[in-house]
Amino acid sequence: MINKVVKDAAEACKGIEDGMTLMLGGFGLCGIPENSIQELLRLGVKNLTCISNNAGVDDFGIGLLLQQKQVKKMISSYVGENAEFERQLLTGELEVDLIPQGTLAERIRAGGAGIPAFYTPAGYGTEVGEGKEAKEFNGKMYLLEEWLKADFAIVKAWKGDTAGNLIYKGTARNFNPMMATAGKITIAEVEELVPAGELDPNMIHTPGIFVQRIFQGKAYEKRIEQRTVRTV
């Protein structure tokens, strides 16, 4: 088996440069690549285009990259939890492309699967459809949407092996599996890295072919945005 293991986030993020397009996995703060985001902060790379469902919160996740003004453009479906984001957007420092969540997921999936464009009904008749080709199928209107790809896709998984196979846990899966397929280079950080052969092949979510670099992350904070508990 090809060994995909790198030592740490610093080695994994080698080659990430100013102006690149990155995909970052996660939904809210759930399943985000915490170690790699820290490394991007340390590297100080700028003018990034970040494709991620959300933009983190002010002091965590992609919000940290926004604080350091490393992001030129966000491609997301929902960005509502971030005051610094709002400030940069209103002053024109930051560009934002808002995309319906399912369309975003499918555009990334298409990017990884070699499908340059597809038709979807989401957004037809709204401002999302402006300037896009529309076509009728069985009496319903659909919009043509194009694939998304990235220079680097950075994903977070629960377990991974030295061959790059990944297993996600809970709803931390979200955008990670599609993003893993759509990067020229895909970096996977995992909570537990095991030798090839230890993970059951039947249980793999992302096959190792999609992953170029894998490392075991450390000190995961896994911050919770809305801690909601029941008392009984």
Binding site: G28, L29, G170, P177
Partner: protein, 217 residues
Amino acid sequence: MLDKHGIAKRIAKEVKNGMYVNLGIGIPTLVANYIPEGIEVVLQSENGLLGMGPFPTEAEVDADMINAGKQTITTLPGSSIFSSADSFGMIRGEHVDLTILGAMEVSENGDIANWKIPGKMVKGMGGAMDLVASAKNIIVAMQHTSKDGQSKLLKSCTLPLTGLKCVKKIVTDLAVLEVTDKGFKLLERAPGVSVEDIQKATEGTLIIEGEIPEIQL
């Protein structure tokens, strides 16, 4: 008038045994609390979970288990977890039976606006456009008028649209209405609310046929 719990309770009566249901943020989330005994439904959370369970106890809290509102949640026996692409495949492929969501405005032909107010901070549409474009049945939970008394049930929406001709039924603090080819058909009125009150609060075409019964909760 109904409060938000009343709206949720009334909508819960629309939920049928065996349905797969997606609940939006806000009042729709409350619907889960009022699903009648003996009715079994599977709740879909579009971040990748079918079979959403109750909020966790303090000991059960798991940062890797959240719903689309980013609240911590639990699974149930029979739950399944999947990617966002699979999740919206379920939605787009019309496998989800019922979508319940909030709205800022609905028009008499079923258009919905619920994601953007021009000039204010735009937070994004999240999954709302995908949901309304593909749901087989959409029920909207909303206030009938704005805080300053303006109708939110209009001839045509003034805010940027989320989707076209998709809303089937609306439950407000004042009434239950069905969207028909000819406009909003009044089905039920909230306790203490007259047909005239509803007429006054509805800018779009309101169809009133026969006696309008009071909402039973």
